[in-house]
């Protein structure tokens, strides 16, 4: 596990999260995140909104990216997180969330790295893509 800036090089792979969200987990997140909309609550409610079934909120995809960073770089602090929602993510769908370090910088504010992030389906469809800026503690 990379815990120091010096341990991380461009091209370093972050952990890979593999998971399948249940409909109840998605609903629980939507309630906790105060996201109104039947589309996050159940298949039936989502169909009333013209969708094929219950969908995962984009904000939960952001949280999964944040979790990936925290588990891969536990001593670092998340400074920026971006996500582009490219396709619908559904409960019951096996997901793979992974990332790679693309840049390293020593700045006045500290040592930072940039990462590219992807949430993809089992079939390899990139449903959510993103980037993160992460800062390491000051070197002693």
């Amino acid at each position: 596990m990379a815990t120091r800036f010096a341990d991380v090089d461009v091209g370093h792979d972050l952990h890979t999260l593999t998971l399948t969200l249940s409909g109840d987990e998605v609903k629980r997140y939507a309630v906790a995140a105060r996201m109104p909309g039947g589309r996050f609550m159940s298949d039936d409610d989502a169909r009333k909104e013209g969708l094929p079934g219950q969908i995962v909120p984009g904000n939960l995809s952001l949280a999964l990216f944040s979790r990936l960073i925290a588990e891969s770089l536990p001593d670092a602090t998340l400074k920026k997180l971006s996500a582009t929602f490219r396709g619908l993510v559904h409960p019951g769908q096996p997901l793979k969330i992974h990332g790679v370090v693309t840049e390293k910088h020593c700045t006045d504010e500290g040592d930072r790295i940039e990462c590219d992030l992807v949430l993809e389906s089992q079939e390899g469809d990139r449903l959510v893509t993103g980037t993160a800026t992460v800062q390491f503690p000051a070197r002693r």
Partner: protein
């Protein structure tokens, strides 16, 4: 056809909401549901800020784009962490409206920026919500 609207809407504030103090229960509920580590009993995980809902999510004088809207993405710049007892204020503005043409035709993007501060006026987060209309 070029996108035609009154550009004075860019930069205009359309919502300012002061929220009730952040509770331990709210932090724990969000952390458990998101599975996001990095939090403890008094500090929220980074994406906790997405649960803040202002009074309005769009300006009342939003141009009629005549199309269906989708959530296209979100950028968050994090400041100081959210802690139990924080009184958060969220101020939302129309940050940008622009048109892009892709393989599937033209799309209009609306970027709504929300700046979140705490009771000490420390910046907690800057959230850019991107909506796509096609």
């Amino acid at each position: 056809m070029a996108l035609d609207f009154d550009r004075s809407i860019i930069g205009s504030e359309f919502d300012r909401t002061v929220f009730a103090p952040v509770t331990k229960d709210a932090i724990q509920e969000y952390a458990a549901a998101s599975g996001e580590p990095g939090a403890n009993e008094v500090t929220a995980p980074p994406t906790f800020v997405v649960r803040l809902r202002g009074h309005r999510w769009m300006p009342e004088n939003m141009p009629n784009l005549g199309r269906v809207g989708f959530d296209a993405g979100k950028d968050i710049e994090f400041g100081v962490p959210v802690r139990v007892g924080d009184v958060l204020t969220a101020v939302s503005t129309v940050h940008d409206i622009y048109e892009k043409t892709g393989r599937t035709g033209s799309m209009v993007f609306v970027v709504l920026r929300t700046v979140v501060t705490n009771q000490r006026e420390d910046e907690v987060a800057v959230i850019d919500q991107k909506m796509m209309f096609r």
